[in-house]
């Protein structure tokens, strides 16, 4: 069998060229793989869901006589299938894990300086993937068509509409017209975007991300410089790396299925079908920081320019996230190095960059805290202080501590503390 295939496909050469490629080993390198596993699980569980989901809001009568929207009823049906609720929960959990793992993967890249030349391109592709993953998660949110999901998505719709000039057109295309419980075209449109167009784009970008990584070679861990300077250190992609990845995939699926089974995500039955009322909703953790900032911005921040309104929704929902994304994309172009980056840098030896990353994480935590403004009855002025100054303070303290513990090491030019933590 192998001989037959080898004669026709020249497998031996393929094996020598590609599968024997040395792949370095470090525990933090698995973050990217976990992101990929989450995506694979999302596609597989997603296929299961599409087979039983009905993307329509037509009213149907359930066997027990309730009148429900078809989309909502089909989720109840999915939950009643063998392992149906677990698979739906696993889909929901995997979306969280994919975004979280991609975010941690990004922080790992940033902390170790792996975004530097020649890898700026893959840094940008990575940011695109993270944004796209979040958009994909958002478009899937309304599909169960329960009151909670509809309210949460409606907020996202209005934030999109707050983008100056083009926002209205954009959300009209994404949501097939005005967002409404009674818009019959909305759910089919979101369904197509969520299960077809965005996943295809994600697959294409993931392919590009991996291709660039293989072409440019993975960065070498710091210990490789000590062990065999100037040489590529690692284990072959097949079998060693493949076996490791395979085991990790199995462990990943086992653990996440267990979590998904114990903590069933998004119980639509508890929320009920959409009504005229708004329940008190909180967005998912990756939107909570935007939600927090939206609550902090006072109503007076508003002006009009050339027919577009720049209101509080624009500052919190459009401007801040755009600045964060652009700031992240600019990092490899601010922190330029003359040499080709081959080895990862230790965070302890780059206190400026490390404290900057920690300040950004602190900004995220503080903005998320602002999301609990009403629950914790936090005054607005205090939140502004927390969001603006705590990150800067954390950055300075981290810098001082790193310097004190690791001494003065040759500093490289970094975009570090000079940039405002809130804007970058």
């Amino acid at each position: 069998m192998y001989k037959w295939l080898d004669e026709r496909l020249d497998l031996q050469r393929l094996n020598n060229k590609l599968f024997r490629k040395a792949f370095p080993v470090h525990h933090t390198f698995f973050l990217g793989e976990i992101t990929l596993f989450a995506f694979i699980v999302l596609v597989l569980t997603g296929i299961f869901l599409t087979l039983n989901y009905e993307p329509s809001i037509r009213e149907i009568t359930t066997p027990d006589g309730q009148k429900l929207p078809a989309a909502y009823a089909s989720i109840l049906y999915i939950d009643s299938l063998p392992f149906g609720a677990v698979l739906r929960s696993l889909h929901h959990w995997s979306a969280h894990i994919m975004i979280a793992a991609a975010f941690l993967h990004m922080i790992r890249i940033h902390l170790s300086g792996a975004y530097k030349k020649p890898r700026e391109l893959n840094w940008l592709v990575g940011i695109g993937l993270l944004v796209l993953a979040i958009v994909t998660a958002f478009t899937g949110y309304a599909l169960p068509f329960d009151n909670y999901a509809i309210t949460a998505t409606k907020i996202g719709y209005e934030i999109g509409a707050a983008a100056p000039w083009v926002g209205g057109l954009l959300v009209n295309i994404l949501f097939a017209g005005e967002f409404s419980n009674t818009n019959t075209q909305m759910i089919p449109r979101l369904f197509s975007v969520h299960v077809l167009w965005l996943p295809l784009t994600l697959i294409a970008l993931i392919g590009l991300h991996l291709l660039v990584m293989v072409k440019q070679k993975h960065t070498q861990p710091k210990y490789a410089e000590r062990v065999s300077p100037g040489k590529v250190l690692g284990v072959p992609a097949l079998p060693s790396q493949g076996v490791m990845a395979g085991i990790l995939l199995l462990v990943y699926v086992a653990v996440t299925t267990l979590i998904a089974g114990i903590f069933l995500a998004h119980p639509v039955q508890a929320y009920g079908p959409p009504t005229a009322n708004t329940p008190a909703v909180k967005p998912d953790w990756y939107f909570l920081w935007i939600y927090g900032i939206l609550q902090m911005i006072p109503s007076s921040w508003k002006f009009e320019l050339l027919g577009a309104t720049f209101g509080p929704q624009f500052w919190g929902g459009i401007l801040v996230p755009t600045l964060v994304i652009l700031g992240a994309a600019a990092i490899p172009f601010i922190d330029t190095s003359r040499h080709k980056q081959r080895y990862l840098e230790l965070p302890s030896q780059h206190p400026g960059r490390t404290s900057f990353v920690i300040a950004i994480v602190m900004f995220y935590i503080m903005a998320t805290l602002a999301g609990y403004k009403i629950d914790l009855e936090l005054p607005n002025a205090l939140l502004w202080v927390l969001v603006l100054f705590v990150p800067i303070l954390t950055g300075v303290v981290t810098y001082v501590v790193l310097r004190a513990f690791y001494g003065k090491t040759p500093e490289e030019p970094v975009g570090g503390l000079q940039g405002s933590a809130a804007n970058d």
Partner: protein
Amino acid sequence: MEHTEHSIDPVKEQQEHIKRRAVLQAAIGVGVGLSVLSTLYVGVGFIPKVVVTPEKEPVKAGDVLVWAQGAKAGQDITPADLQAAQKSDPPFIIAYPKNPENNVVKNQSATNTIMVMQLEPSSLSPETAQHAAQGIVAYSAICKHLGCTISQWKNNEWHCPCHGGEYDPRQGAKVVAGPPPGPVPQLPIKLEGNRIVATAGFLFEPGADV
């Protein structure tokens, strides 16, 4: 003489070549441009056609306010209902307008979601009282911030659960806290027997102000 006629002039040949190339490039450019443009026209189909059905018409003078949800959904809201609601949480009722001519409840447009409540008539500001009837006020229930239904009552103010916007229904739904960029429009009403009837449309545009 013959010889010169047949000889190839390299400069002339070069010029001819450039001319041919320019023509070809222009042809390709126009072709690609037109194809892209015609494809864009397909994109017009992404924006759905808006069909105004009786259920989607905006609220207008003469419309009767009916319960939007709950056991009494579709029934007229009476002053007695509002008095009973005062003791409950929230102390107001979410309503839809009903066209009395064809008995159609206009519940298919989010901006038709209306909040009605009964307040102490003396607590109302003069402008608000002008459009109220015996302390009964009606407002668009769609938050000016990001379009949630303003469905709660907190700290004696009308509270939107999404981002903490607070309005004062006694003073024309003035924003008293949180991020909403402006008040929600009032709906002028009168009492006709036991029914609450709109005397005009919303005072200004309802819906999120984005």
